[in-house]
């Protein structure tokens, strides 16, 4: 893909990801990392690093928007997120010591169970 087209596609995909992230309460890395490796052709490591740099401003803008609308509790979220930041560094170090594939599979099964439960809850909610 040529430079200008690629950048236009990146901006458009960013808009899509940002919208999904703001609605779903996630960073959007799960969508951006595969996109960057498959479409932009960057390495897995570069994709993760690049995606994280996008996640940060996305979360900041979404959080400010929601804070203004009185949804959630931003100061509290920042505080338990700070605990998470320490956990993130520990997790990254742990990742180097564990077999990634097995871990990914267990995590996927866990997500599938939670997904079923949330959809069931949602269907039961008035």
């Amino acid at each position: 893909m040529s430079g200008v087209v690629l950048y236009a596609v990146l901006i458009a995909f960013g808009f899509f990801t940002g919208g999904a992230a703001g609605l779903l309460g996630v960073g959007g890395g799960i969508m951006m990392v595969p996109f960057l490796t498959l479409v932009a052709g960057v390495s897995q490591h570069e994709a993760q690093a690049t995606s994280l740099l996008v996640v940060l401003p996305t979360a900041v803008v979404a959080s400010i928007t929601l804070h203004r609308k009185g949804v959630g509790d931003l100061p509290l979220a920042l505080r338990f997120g700070a605990v998470g930041a320490v956990g993130g560094i520990a997790g990254a170090l742990l990742a180097l010591a564990l077999p990634g594939h097995a871990l990914r599979l267990v995590f996927a099964l866990l997500l599938a169970v939670v997904a079923v439960r949330l959809v069931r809850d949602g269907l039961a909610t008035e």
Binding site: A21, S63, A85, L105, L118
Partner: protein, 142 residues
Amino acid sequence: MAERSPSSVAVPAPPPAPAPEAPRGHLDRRLAGIGAAGGVLSGLLGVGGGIVMVPLLVLRAGYRQRDAHAMSLGAIIPISLASVVTYGVAGEVRVGYAAALAIGSVVGARVGAGLLARIKERPLKIVFGLFLGAVAVLLVFK
């Protein structure tokens, strides 16, 4: 998740009625645990912590879906900041690509967050559940 004993699963979330729109304002062990779980799994698997924190905030901390999404986004700020610094030190970031994605993403985030503030609880739970299911499939076949 991993850091909690099975017995604490049975501890009832705060009664559904008072907890929802006005989240308790202090950092208790449960929230710290959710933050830590989100951070560790984020670092471990390279996924956003939100995928872990949103379900935990709903199923374990008793937040309504909408508030859980907002809290997760707030918590992602320090988590991603720590990760960006870690990766940045390693020199892996493609700044040009990140800038292009971010231009679209911050505009999209305003739209998505605006929708989150209005959407009803039921469709939000279903949409998030479907998203989580899709991610699970993606992780298995990746």
